[in-house]
């Protein structure tokens, strides 16, 4: 996972400016194509406007819910949940990961256990959260924190346990204290791997919160999509879907800033 993201980073890093412009052009064209097809199938009523409203109608609804401030209370709830769940995932994942990485034995025993959690759909634990914590923000916070914990913890273990042993030997031979070894060698060496885990973990945490809101909730932007779907108001539902997608894209872009700068690495 961290290897994959490192590879992805290397791929984009190697792009020339011309290639990057071309890549942006491809993305925009794909989006434009999607809109054109969407417009075409709705105008011709190949797909019933009840299931899929026209892009123009969705845009109008979107401007209304954003412009009137109607979406803000839900967004506030979702962001509040994230503001609690994200730091919990970060601190717990980082701390557990660091402690496990302290001994070679710990890393060897716990890393496979924590990795294997990827094979189970964590979503099945959500009903337990709801049962225990109710349908308010608490259950989303628990669920989001659980989702975010694993990538952060795993990458922290990997980051710390794969520091070049030669750097550690050199630090010892030049008289580094334990504190200096941690701050000047271990942490900077592990930082790129940890940060990509943090980025992935926080994103999963955010998505899990929205997912939780769609399943059992009384508020939040995820809940609002389902609320309109159940009320058969597809125009508003799609406006909220666009809104959720946009919020997620912005969140992802913000979290990308966490990625380690190339050139320094």
């Amino acid at each position: 996972m961290s290897a994959a993201s490192a590879a992805g980073q290397a791929l984009t890093a190697r792009l020339t400016p011309a290639q990057r412009r071309a890549s942006a052009l491809v993305k925009l064209s794909a989006l434009a194509l999607l809109l054109i097809v969407w417009h075409f199938v709705t105008v011709t009523e190949i797909v019933s406007p009840f299931f899929l409203p026209k892009p123009a109608d969705v845009l109008r609804n979107f401007i209304r819910i954003v412009g009137s401030g109607q979406a803000w209370p839900d967004l506030k709830v979702t962001l509040f949940e994230f503001a609690i769940a994200g730091p919990i995932a970060l601190v717990a994942g980082g701390l557990v990961g660091f402690l496990v990485s302290l001994t070679r034995y710990g890393a060897r025993v716990f890393e496979p256990i924590i990795s294997s959690v990827y094979a189970i759909p964590i979503i099945i634990f959500y009903p337990i959260s709801v049962m225990a914590l109710g349908i308010g923000p608490e259950s989303k916070i628990a669920h989001g924190a659980l989702f975010g914990f694993f990538p952060i913890c795993l990458n922290t273990i990997q980051g710390f346990s794969r520091v070049d042993p030669l750097l550690i030997r050199l630090a010892h031979s030049t008289g580094a204290s334990q504190r200096q070894l941690f701050w000047r060698i271990m942490l900077p060496a592990a930082a790129p791997t940890i940060l990509s885990g943090v980025r992935l973990g926080l994103m999963l945490c955010f998505l899990a919160i929205i997912g939780g809101e769609t399943i059992a909730s009384i508020e939040g932007i995820g809940h609002r999509v389902v609320w309109y779907a159940e009320g058969m108001q597809t125009g508003n539902m799609f406006a909220y879907i666009v809104f959720v997608v946009l919020v997620a894209v912005i969140m992802n872009a913000a979290l990308s800033l966490l990625e380690f700068r190339k050139g320094r690495s």
Binding site: L166, L167, L170, S173, T174, G175, Q180, R184, A189, A191
Partner: protein, 278 residues
């Protein structure tokens, strides 16, 4: 104080290795590996000594015992009469096969971090680091990152870092092994010149017979594992040594003797490995 060549002439003893043996647990759990057996050597202040022998005969282990990175199973190493019980950052600096530069820091910062670890006075660190870079001809690369440097330049940076620590002892564990032939020739000439002024006590582990003869005052030839000292060769030639030395009959003679001494041990080491495989 004599201020002639300094090297070679056995002045006071700086490093003493007293009956050192070391045993590692075998990597697969059962049994053990005897890496060193009954090593007794004395090295004079300012001497340049090479350790040469088949792979796995314990050369790095001996270096690490002297550097305080490994506590030997038996015996002890002494520096300046005091028993070595752990790293001695003020007295011993290392150069490894790889440069061990922090990839996220500039060359200058790399040196300054080591000076910080060594508790060198903060005020002088920058200047000391810059002087060391200048001494190895890397002053123009102070603000470069390691990945922007060639392999040879990285090893120069590692040398600058070691010099900046201003230790009496320099331990070099195959410092040229990862470099190409031309680069290592130039590097060893530079090293010879640089160290002629520095008067450091140096232990160099190398696989190159030519390098050992070119750089050393004495060469310790090791047996195959368990490593013991099989022979000691003296190279009586003042420093800095010119490239012309490398083509002299004396050089060739020493090199051939070294080859004869090593040949049997390398064959023995290969034989043992074969037996291990069968």
């Amino acid at each position: 104080m004599t201020n002639e060549t300094g090297r070679g002439a056995m002045a006071e003893t700086l490093i003493k290795v007293e009956d050192v043996s070391h045993v590692f647990p075998a990597p697969d759990g059962g049994g053990e590996v005897i890496a060193l057996e009954g090593i007794d050597i004395e090295i004079g202040r300012g001497e340049m000594v090479s350790l040469i022998g088949p792979s796995g005969c314990g050369k790095s282990t001996l270096l690490n015992v002297i550097g305080g990175m490994i506590a030997p199973s038996q015996g002890a190493a002494l520096i300046g009469g005091a028993r070595v019980r752990g790293p001695r950052p003020k007295e011993v600096a290392y150069i490894f096969q790889e440069s061990a530069l922090l990839p996220w820091a500039t060359i200058l910062d790399n040196i300054k971090v080591s000076l910080e670890f060594q508790k060198a006075p903060r005020a002088t660190r920058d200047q000391v680091a810059r002087e060391a870079l200048k001494a190895v001809g890397l002053d123009a690369f102070a603000t470069s990152y390691p990945h922007q440097l060639s392999g040879g330049m990285k090893q120069r940076a590692a040398l600058a870092r070691a010099l900046s620590l201003r230790t009496d002892v320099l331990l070099m564990d195959e410092p040229f092994a990862a470099l190409d032939e031309q680069t290592r020739m130039i590097f060893s000439e530079d090293l010879s010149r640089l160290l002629a002024n520095e008067r450091k006590t140096i232990l160099l582990v190398t696989h190159s017979l030519a390098e050992a003869v070119f750089l050393s005052d004495r060469i310790f030839v090791f047996t195959s594992r368990p490593g013991r000292i099989k022979a000691v060769l003296e190279v009586d030639e003042p420093h800095p040594r010119s490239p012309a030395f490398m083509t002299s009959p004396k050089f060739n003679d020493l090199r051939n003797r070294l080859y004869e001494l090593l040949r049997d041990e390398v064959l023995a080491a290969i034989g043992k490995d074969r037996q291990g495989l069968a």
